[in-house]
């Protein structure tokens, strides 16, 4: 299935793109996505942390992704 991956801040520097239609296995959980990203791009392991938002809401590691979800990689925020 496909998700729409949005990438911000330092995560965009790591991946090299801001947006990407990504093919993933069905029923992938957020923890699986985080693991996959960290394995393919070890620089993710150097971050203080990174979160995942699905359809503009933070979600837990156990959350299961669905077809067409808008999935955002949220590195440590620093607004204000």
């Amino acid at each position: 299935m496909k998700i729409n991956l949005l990438v911000f801040g330092i995560a965009r520097d790591i991946l090299g793109y801001a947006q990407h239609e990504m093919s993933i296995q069905s029923d992938m959980r957020i923890q699986d996505l985080k693991h996959k990203l960290s394995e393919e791009y070890p620089d993710f392991k150097k971050l203080a942390k990174f979160d995942i938002a699905v359809n503009q809401e933070y979600q837990e590691d156990s959350f299961v992704l669905s077809e067409r979800d808008e999935v955002a990689i949220i590195p440590p925020v620093s607004g204000g």
Binding site: L6, I10, K46, L47
Partner: protein
């Protein structure tokens, strides 16, 4: 009343203060963040703010709603700017009005503390010899 805005235009502190005017509210607390000219002894030239726009506004709204339910306050305005900001410019204004001042102080501080924890906005500091995403690394 809640008013939340993410914008590329310069923020107006006065506009935020006007929005929370209320004849029943005697205490107004305003937080204004400005771009400092240094971080940990390094000279900052300017900052770049980027946001996950729609989610950032939603999170700002959630923070304001939580503050309204936690504290006895009447109005909360949270405005945040994105794009390139020079030293002294204002990335964020938070204005809170309440009948009694203590609640306004608590709510205003709660909003800026929460904003810095959860709102998907990122700033990159530009120095003479490079640049860095703030808070990205431990």
């Amino acid at each position: 009343m809640i008013n939340v805005k993410l914008t590329i235009d310069p923020l107006s502190v006065t506009a935020c203060e006007k929005m929370i005017e209320d004849d029943q509210a005697g205490g107004h607390v305003v937080f204004i963040g400005t771009v400092r000219n240094h971080t940990s002894s390094k000279k900052v030239l300017f900052l770049d703010f980027e946001a996950y726009g729609p989610m950032a506004e939603k999170e700002m709204h959630k923070i304001a709603e939580r503050a309204l339910s936690k504290f006895e306050v009447k109005h909360i305005v949270i405005h945040h700017r994105v794009g390139q900001l020079e030293i002294g410019e204002i990335p964020v204004v938070i204005a809170v009005a309440s009948a009694h001042r203590k609640a306004a102080f608590r709510a205003c501080e709660y909003c800026i503390d929460s904003l810095k924890e959860t709102v998907p906005i990122w700033k990159k500091e530009h120095f003479e010899d490079g640049e860095v995403w703030v808070a990205a690394h431990p």
